[in-house]
Amino acid sequence: VEILDAKTREKLCFLDKVEPQATIAEIKNLFTKTQGKSLKDEDVLQKLPVGTTATLYFRDLGAQISWVTVFLTEYAGPLFIYLLFYFRVPFIYGHKYDFTSSRHSVVHLACICHSFHYVKRLLETLFVHRFSHGTMPLRNIFKNCTYYWGFAAWMAYYINHPLYTPPTYGAQQVKLALAIFVICQLGNFSIHMALRDLRPAGSKTRKIPYPTKNPFTWLFLLVSCPNYTYEVGSWIGFAIMTQCLPVALFSLVGFTQMTIWAKGKHRSYLKEFRDYPPLRMPIVPFLL
């Protein structure tokens, strides 16, 4: 069986000794195995289903950059940018407001929460996360930084504006929002730790995550990606706290993206593990 590239017509693979009874699915399997379904670094040549001659296919993915670098850059930006607006650095608001401070306590609280969130992310990137892939395409850093830095500036502009209007329901609303925010931050961190513990240092094995003694991880019973669930929760909390429409929009966009990722992750869990718990939804319990 000879397999050609559909666009370029070049010979991709020659499978010899294929049974006449073989189905296309089996041929596809043979092909992907020989062609390289992401050949892992750990694969042993002898164990691969190739004949006496092995042909490996090389695909250049273009300029790459490490995940750690991208994460650090995209998270350090919002941390720094928000503070520029918080301290009302010149040329943002009118000159009479330069380096003044807001009289609303919620504005100070919001700065603490926002900064805490990004410091947490930076520390997790450095000490907690274990990445399956070392790198991603270089263009991603420009796309991601535009997204994070742009939204951070947009939010920060309004929250720290001299004409900022505090939440309608006052201290009650802020307290509730803060509670949601803190719970979700703790939850998100717990999930990150649980996922890290699933995988021994330096390995790339994948296992089904299960709830641990930590109550925050019990969300695993209902959801495949509770880290995303908690993340959306944090931002909803922040939106309620600041009562700022740009924050709500940022939460919505983030939720959309994380739902796409969660669905992908959920699907690959289902594909990889026969005994995957059936009750779990990707990101929202029972719903999504």
Binding site: I3, D5, A6, K7, R9, L12, I24, I27, K28, F31, T32, Q35, G36, K37, S38, L39, L56, Y57, F58, R59, D60, L61, A63, Q64, S66, H133, G134, T135, Y158, I159, H161, L163, Y164, T165, T168, T242, Q243, C244, L245, P246
Partner: protein
């Protein structure tokens, strides 16, 4: 440089050109063409009767708005594959048309009698009639060379003319928008957000600078391929 070993999918035949198949595809394409013909005829009649472009927009506006909003269906058609155009390209075109019709000419009345409005209306009409005649004839497998020629040559004039019409119209609208502060939200307000339609229009005008050359050169490349030999698997328009 990071390297990763990738997966590919297999199929027995080379990918076929996606093209409107069956009655749904034909019907859609023909109706789109005739809608624009209706518009063209209405415009010509008006001009012949009145001898001026003033009031032209007003007379055709209902039809135009109806058709352009209907154009949202276009995106759905691309999604489900009746029309062989990419969703992104069509999405951009439809949004920009809806923007012009509803957010500029409809909402900013002083602008309706500008000559620039006629410029883009004529450009849109001729472009669409040519394009959908091309699709219709292609579907029927009887494509007169003239239609193909028209489709890949008219745009050379029509694109810049249409863009000029749109930009001049937006530019004419600016003073009115600034004076009235329409579609804008100011601080302070309960939701801590603001929006300035005037600056939004300026940014929109600026966005033509990167977008228009891309579209134009894409069409020029298509033209070179289609009219000067090579057979290509057409996916984008």
């Amino acid at each position: 440089m990071g390297l990763r070993w990738e997966n590919r999918t297999t199929c027995l035949h080379p990918p076929r050109k996606r093209f409107p198949k069956g009655r749904a595809g034909q019907g859609h394409v023909q109706s789109r063409c005739s809608r624009w013909l209706v518009l063209a005829i209405a415009m010509v009649r008006f001009y012949m009767e009145k001898g001026t472009h003033r009031g032209l927009y007003k007379s055709i506006q209902k039809t135009l708005k109806f058709f352009q909003t209907f154009a949202l269906l276009e995106i759905v058609h691309c999604l489900i594959g009746i029309v062989p155009t990419s969703v992104l390209v069509t999405g951009v075109q439809v949004s920009s048309r809806i923007f012009m019709v509803w957010l500029v000419t409809h909402s900013i009345k002083p602008v309706q009698n500008e000559e620039s409005v006629v410029l883009f209306l004529v450009s849109w009409t001729v472009t669409e009639i040519t394009r959908y005649s091309f699709y219709t004839f292609s579907l029927l497998d009887h494509l007169p060379y003239f239609i193909k020629w028209a489709r890949y040559n008219f745009f050379i004039i029509l694109y810049p003319v249409g863009v000029a019409g749109e930009l001049l119209t937006i530019y004419a609208a600016l003073p009115y928008v600034k004076k009235t502060g329409m579609f804008s939200i100011r601080l302070p307000n309960k939701y801590n957000v603001s929006f300035d339609y005037y600056y939004f229009l300026l940014i929109t005008m600026a966005s033509y600078i990167p977008l228009f050359p891309q579209l134009y050169f894409h069409m020029l490349r298509q033209r070179r391929k289609v009219l000067h030999g090579e057979v290509i698997v057409e996916k984008d328009d």
